[in-house]
Amino acid sequence: ACGSNAADKKEDKAGNSEDGLKIAIVTSPSGVDDGNFNEDNYNGILKFIENNPTATVKSVKEPTGDPAAAVQAVADIVADYDVIVTPGFQFAGVSSIAVENPDKIFIMNDTEPAPVDGQTEFDNIYAMNFAEQESGFFAGMAAALETKTNKVAVVNGIAYPSNVNYQFGFESGVNYANKVYGKSVELVELSGYAGTDVTGADVGGNYAGSFADEATGKVIGNALIKQGVDILFVAAGGTGNGVFTAAKEAKNDVKVIGVDVDQYDDGSNGSENIVLTSAVKFMAMNIEKSLNSVADGSFKGGNVVLYADTESTGFIKEEGRHQLSEDTLNKLNEAYELVKDGTIVPASNFNGNTPEEFPGL
């Protein structure tokens, strides 16, 4: 959540500079100031502009969140930019615009481009996905190692692959801690909120069914806390705010683990903070990287999944931004290396592993 002023300055410059890279970011209704997913992507662009001062960025908000409208919004502006960044699954359909505009470059995050006439990879689309299960895994471990009640839970928005990945990763992490460190931590699920993934399979978990329903988030949070859960992994966008509030109001040492970006600031509760740590994907860094490749001409289209081996997934361990114990932190760091070198492969939505059975367990 920094540097929007800088952004304004950049926008001001837009009028004069003719030669710089023209970048647009088109986002979901929550916009680039959501302090979360979108903002992290945006920050990547701003970082790039810092080093390439002739480049400019404009942010555009698509107000409905409907995939068709999302594509339309991109189509409306595509002519005026060189690079379009679209964070969010609802922009998958932008591939058709990419085909029609081969001279433009598209950077997608959190989705693969929708097939166009059977084609799934495009020269001018760089689609990145992250191995959320890895970040989730660390969250699960942290939760299992820090819980006092031995009950933990994960709350999600909608069972999109990214969310299911987080969930399965989290469950993998809990099971790992149980097995390796002799814990007996229980995963709590409210049966009314089981999720259904994109193939229609029941994946369990606690899904609010929306990323923007704070009230339901709070209800779920309260219900879980009532069942004795003291650490909640919250991967639910705006719905997550409700869970945070429930945890804050509970006052009996309930902690949450943030998601996607460092959510420590969201956790402040008077003199305390409820955020244990955050399971993150380093999106800004990767956005910046791909913009660099555009700038230096090395850009290559393709659909990639980014893992810990490129430092793209992980958790927050900076001093003062987490509340993990020394011991837990060490154990997480050990596990991180194992994940990085492929010894541990936590379950994801579609990698064939399950939270109960995955390499490294």
């Binding site: 304004d8 409905t64 502006i77 609802q90 029609e100 259904t196 994109v198």
Partner: protein, 383 residues
């Protein structure tokens, strides 16, 4: 002294169109639109941006003025057609509000009626694989019937049980939202988009990506219908027995009853027509502009249409113009925000301002008629 006179006569002439009662239904909205653009311009100036450019961008984005560059397969024409596409449901929805209003009823359930009819048409026709020639008319029919039924229910509950239509429509909005969300989740979900599965092209009321002269256009079939229906509604209200009865019920229920008009059935009828129009809005929205339904989301069109209807003086032709204007601002706002670097919310603020100022139309009229009286007085005393 003579200078003074000149001044009055100049301002007199300048304001003549507002003074002339015949033109007031047109001049007053136009003036309020101008005023609101001026106020919006001041806001934009305060933000340190150039209002003229911003407005120009707005109209560019909406497909009224040409953009500097166009991406592949796009042109002014394609943008303009998208504008009409987006405007179509708004016209229907505003007509729905207007018809109910004429009968003295306040339909704030347009969104729910849209959702219900859109949903029914989607599951009955949208997934059926019927040929376009059958599917498209069928979609319209189902939309009208479904919306009409839901509207009729509101009217009937009012007539039979004296349940205020505002409550009924609010409750039905929620009920439709949740129940349809349930059915979508249970049976029609597209697991990827988390919306209802996309409908077949054949059932769609917008012909998408029609290639023509190296352009890809979305052709809103519903738009023509919207214009025809607006004219028909005008005719219905102004020139027919049914229209007179509806207006009579709206004007004075007791007198209508005494005149021999069946008040109850006219209320139900007005709500059926209103609901039917909302249904058309629903199908042109969910099966036209879009091709699937987001669960648990009510479109804001249903509420915007109340204001649009009133901006159009509850008059069908006025509604075409007011929806056109509001759609321009709506559609152009993305482009404006990307070009001028002005937040999109400014567009909503402009819409709000326009409506705000036109809401004062009655006051302007009142003031003007006062002025006129005084003018007459002065002339009288002079002569």
């Amino acid at each position: 002294m003579s200078k003074d006179k000149k001044k009055t006569s100049l301002s007199y002439r300048l304001f003549w169109p507002i003074r002339n009662e015949k033109w007031q239904p047109i001049t007053i909205p136009v003036v309020s639109i101008l005023v609101s653009f001026i106020v919006a311009a001041i806001v934009i100036l305060l933000l340190g941006k150039n209002p003229i450019q911003a407005f120009y961008n707005l109209f560019q984005g909406a497909g009224i003025f040409p953009k500097a560059t166009y991406a592949g397969y796009k042109s002014l024409l394609t943008d303009f057609l998208s504008l009409l596409d987006a405007m179509t449901p708004l016209v229907f929805a505003s007509l729905a509000v207007a018809v109910a209003l004429r009968a003295g009823l306040f339909n704030i359930g347009v969104s729910g009626q849209m959702l219900f009819s859109g949903f029914l048409a989607t599951i009955i026709v949208g997934y059926s694989g019927l040929d376009a020639i059958i599917a498209k008319p069928l979609v319209l029919l189902i939309g009208m019937v479904a919306g009409g039924l839901m509207g009729g229910l509101v009217g009937w509950l009012k007539y039979k049980f004296n349940i205020h239509e505002v409550v009924t429509t609010i409750m039905l909005n929620y009920i439709a939202q949740y129940v349809i969300s349930f059915f979508i989740h249970m049976y029609y979900i597209d697991p990827v988009s988390r919306q209802s599965k996309y409908i077949t092209e054949a059932a769609r009321l917008t012909l998408v990506n029609v290639e023509f002269a190296n352009l890809k256009m979305d052709i809103p079939l519903g738009f023509i219908l919207a214009i025809v229906v607006a004219i028909f509604i005008k005719f219905l209200l102004d020139k027919t027995v049914v229209g007179l009865e509806i207006k009579a019920v709206g004007s004075n229920r007791d007198a209508a009853k005494y005149t021999g008009i069946k008040v109850g059935s006219n209320m139900v009828l007005a709500m059926i027509i209103s609901g039917g129009l909302a249904g058309l809005a629903g199908v042109t929205y969910y099966l036209g502009d879009f091709a699937s339904i987001q669960p648990k989301v009510l479109t804001s069109i249903g509420f915007d249409s109340i204001a649009v209807a009133l901006l159009g003086n509850s008059h069908p032709i006025g509604i075409i113009f007011s929806s056109f204007l509001v759609s321009i601002i709506d559609q152009g706002s993305t482009y404006m925000s990307s070009q001028a670097g002005i937040r999109q919310e400014i567009a909503s603020v402009i819409i709000g301002l326009i409506l705000l100022f036109s809401a004062c139309g009655a006051y302007v009229k009142h003031k003007v008629s006062r002025l006129k009286e005084k003018e007459v007085d002065r002339k009288d005393s002079e002569s």
